[in-house]
Symmetry: C2
Subunit: 241 residues, 2 copies
């Protein structure tokens, strides 16, 4: 049980945190304050407050721009308590990153349903990525991680590999080709192209513009990416109108 504190709101997440497909905005969302009393030790409660505050601060100001004083203030906790839970600023930052990235990983699943038309299947495949792009929590995390790892190539590579869907896409494309539904000679290249078409328009521009695209926007991008992908890799070339 953890929260994603975005700039404007604190959204509650329980299990399938990142899986937007299961998120229901009408579902009850206990406020952070409302949750506080139940079944948590004081220590755990404080720790949770610290984590929430730290996520918010790091995402808003970045690592260097965030001070431990402000975190403790925002968490309504004394600075010493922060240090009782996390031995240093760096440890706090890395534990949070670790945790959030793990959340992303555990929630991801790539669909493959060979009974559906190939176009529809590709759309769903594209939406596995697209679901992340319209999730404010994910975009905030991505901005935080990527702004801090751009000067740390090793860490950047690690994060990249853990947050990308590359290998899963490859597997699906390979299988679809084996089943004669696509004609992909190099699944690695094709997967990069497909993801690249989506990310270059739906991810990076928004990452730097600090905005979150809406469903319609991403749907258009995915549809156009599928069109292009199919023009190149479908069994019999279809020109989509």
């Amino acid at each position: 049980m953890i929260v994603c504190a975005s700039v404007n709101a604190v959204v509650y997440i329980e299990r399938n945190f990142w899986d937007v497909r299961e998120q229901d905005t009408t579902r009850e969302k206990k406020s952070v304050v409302g949750e506080l009393g139940s079944g948590m030790s004081v220590s755990d409660r404080k720790k949770k407050q610290i984590i929430e505050a730290a996520i918010a601060e790091f995402q808003e100001k970045g690592y260097a721009g965030t001070s431990m004083d402000r975190i403790s203030e925002r968490a309504q906790v004394s600075k010493r308590t922060v240090y009782n839970h996390f031995e240093s600023k760096e440890v706090l930052f890395h534990e949070i990153n670790q945790f959030l990235v793990d959340q992303v990983n555990s929630a991801l699943e790539i669909p493959y349903d060979n009974t559906k038309p190939i176009r529809e299947m590709l759309m769903e495949l594209g939406w596995a990525e697209g679901a992340l792009l319209i999730n404010p929590c994910f975009m905030n995390l991505a901005r935080m991680v990527m702004s801090e790892t751009i000067r740390d190539p090793a860490l950047a590579a690690d994060m990249e590999s853990r947050m990308t869907l590359q290998s899963d896409f490859e597997a699906v494309l390979r299988r679809a080709t084996e089943e004669g539904r696509l004609s992909v000679d190099d699944p690695a290249v094709a997967a990069k192209q497909f993801l690249g078409l989506i990310k270059s328009r739906g991810f990076f521009p928004n990452l730097y513009a600090a905005r979150v695209p809406d469903r319609a926007e991403i749907d258009k991008i995915i549809a156009e990416s599928v069109d292009m992908f199919m023009a190149k890799y479908s069994k019999e070339p279809t020109r989509a109108g």
Copy 2:
């Protein structure tokens, strides 16, 4: 006359600084030290040293990680002299950014030659972008700028618009369609797709991995992008082997 100080080397540039197509690695490269005596006042010389040092430091450590003390030390100049030339750290940073970005802009030109086969023309078009990607100076600049602007959306948008080839690509695609050489319904989307195919594989991964790709690597990416682009947008669908 200015230099691009990369992490490992200081490369001399005279006019067509960014235009890798004209760069000749065998051409004489005066060392910075060798150049020092000739025709520059002491003041100009010192200023140049400061700029070189600042570029290197900012690119290696980022804005926050760079101290004016280290810049002065690296430039072999007193700290006071740095402040005589640049009134603050921020001014120094922005003047450098401004200058480098202007260099990029002035060197860019998008080819359009309708006597060449369409595939060849697209390859050249792709290489207009590719030339930047294999240029260490450009990649270092991009890393510096993007790492600092990710928390400043307005500046990021400005930089993006000034460093992207989007509109030029659009114009070329529109013209090629008018001349019946391509069948592009939406030039804006098509330009984004084409550039996206290239950048998502040749730019962003390398930006974060802190590496510079070589010609062969980029050539493969561009060729595969052209293949895909043509599968969707060429007059008569060609399946490239």
